[in-house]
């Protein structure tokens, strides 16, 4: 059996995964999972295009990819196949038909917007699949099947419009409950939590983190490298505070901290925590 070969190339439009067209699809999935897992959270939020070469994907395989990337926090933008549209998988001919890029599937950003829907009764409904990972995955998976199948067959051009109207990257995940030890939220955009974040819980966001409660866990804002990201909390008592590539922890003195909202951000190359002033320029990353 030939080893599943994956080449990842980055450009300003995001990452492109070039997948081996010879090996088993299941091997590809395993190889992608390994790549994504080994990258930890560094790829969270990256936009991904998949080029499957001459391979003809079945509906199930498309669906598998569609779920696979978001489960590691990546945003799947499209899948490109070079196989000819009739489905006669003649490789030689397919290779010649260079310009015939058939966009067989386009996923739109607006699927992620659906995670802003209020969670029913504030309880987590994703415990079945990934117990501790609370993220946008379930929302995407819960999107009505009808819209999925149309998205899968559409040309993609129709799906481009909602992206623009919904404001591109400005995505925010709203969580209306307390995060407990062992629970993680990973999201490429901003994260707003109406509740507490307890010690042992992690919030990793590509953008800002705003907690309308006591933050006692580990925060990582700007996890994709944004130095402008901020962490704001009603009471900021983090175990650890990370912004972009900076990691800080509170001093060892047992100090309960002040009783007012605070904001943590990078100033002069250092993570600083100060009182949150209403009306001042303390909202961090410009909207």
């Amino acid at each position: 059996m030939k080893k599943a070969d994956i080449v990842i190339k980055g450009s300003k439009d995001g990452l492109t995964f070039y997948l081996d067209s010879q090996c088993d699809f299941s091997d590809l999935v395993i190889a992608i999972e390994q790549k994504l897992a080994s990258a930890d959270c560094f790829l969270v939020g990256a936009h991904v295009n998949v080029d499957v070469g001459l391979r003809k994907l079945t509906e199930e395989q498309i669906e598998r990819l569609r779920i696979l990337f978001p489960s590691y926090g990546l945003i799947l933008r499209g899948i490109t196949s070079w196989s000819d549209s009739e489905g006669n998988n003649d490789e030689g001919e397919g290779a010649i038909m260079k310009g015939n890029r058939e966009r067989i599937y386009q996923i739109a950003n607006h699927l992620y917007e659906s995670s802003e829907r209020p969670e029913p009764a504030g309880e987590s409904r994703n415990l079945e699949s990934k117990e501790s990972i609370v993220s946008f995955v379930p929302a995407a998976m819960e999107a009505p099947p009808s819209s999925l199948s149309t998205a899968a067959t559409d040309d993609g051009a129709e799906n481009e419009a909602p992206i623009i109207t919904l404001g591109g990257d400005e995505q925010t995940l709203l969580i209306q409950r307390t995060l407990r030890s062992g629970q993680t939220v990973r999201y490429p955009g901003n994260v707003v939590i109406l509740g507490d974040v307890n010690p042992g819980a992690e919030v990793i966001a590509g953008g800002n983190i705003i907690v309308m409660g006591v933050f006692r866990g580990v925060a990582h804002a700007g996890a994709l490298g944004s130095l402008d990201a901020v962490v704001t909390a009603y009471r900021l008592r983090p175990t650890q505070l990370r912004i972009a590539n900076h990691i800080t922890r509170p001093p060892d003195e047992d100090d309960d901290g002040p009783d007012h909202p605070e904001i943590g951000r990078i100033r002069d190359g250092m993570v600083t925590i100060e009182r949150y002033h209403y009306g001042s320029k303390s909202f961090g990353k410009d909207a």
Binding site: S181, G182, G200, D252
Partner: protein
Amino acid sequence: MGEVMVITSGKGGVGKTTTTANIGTGLASLGYKVVLVDTDIGLRNLDVVMGLENRIVYDIVDVTSGQVSYSKALIKDKRFPDGRLNLLPAAQTKDKTAVNQAQMQKLCEDLKKEFDFVLIDCPAGIEQGFKNAIAGAEKAIVVTTPEVSAIRDADRIIGLLEAGGLRNPRLIINRLRPAMVKQGDMMSIEDMVDILAIDVLGVVPEDDTIVISTNKGEPAVLDDNSRAGQAYRNITRRLTGADVPLMNLEVSEGLFDKVRKIFGMGR
């Protein structure tokens, strides 16, 4: 080449983590290079008891999966500036299946090349977490409290340890209340040794200072006024080969003599 020791109990809440923290800190204060490994993935506590929670960046899963070297994940204890005492924390957002036995064996092999003592804090239970914890161990310490349920579980664990190739585990009896034993309301050391039939490494009396030290994240073994701390200091010295009698637990002469006799037989 160091020693790899697993601290286990079967039952939860008998003081495995407290014991690991105190023995490890005790050994470090005697000058040994020590690493504490928390294998309770998903329910980690050792970092909290050691007061090192806010220093965690990488954890045991990052190491066993090969993402970072163990030296990068180790947290040096702030109380020993020369870096004698180290902690390898467990992951909190994963579960026990994130590590397998072969990976643990490899990790222990690597760690014992650098450290004099590798102490493994085992999770409660007898499932995957327990199997992982004992996979790389060469010696075992069983912690129990003077309760029938804890003794029953300890007995089961001793059997499983033997099946796993860890012969002659040693026993630490934790939270003993000598006054209650004297009145006959609590199992005595003798009763427990009768059932378990293994060597007693030490007896730690019930002590309020443990609660305080756990909350503060400072192991009691460093507190000269703590009786439990004294018991752990004695255990530490016994581990390094010193012959230390069991401490006087302020009970009747008769029992104390029996205790001494048991210990004498045990050595």
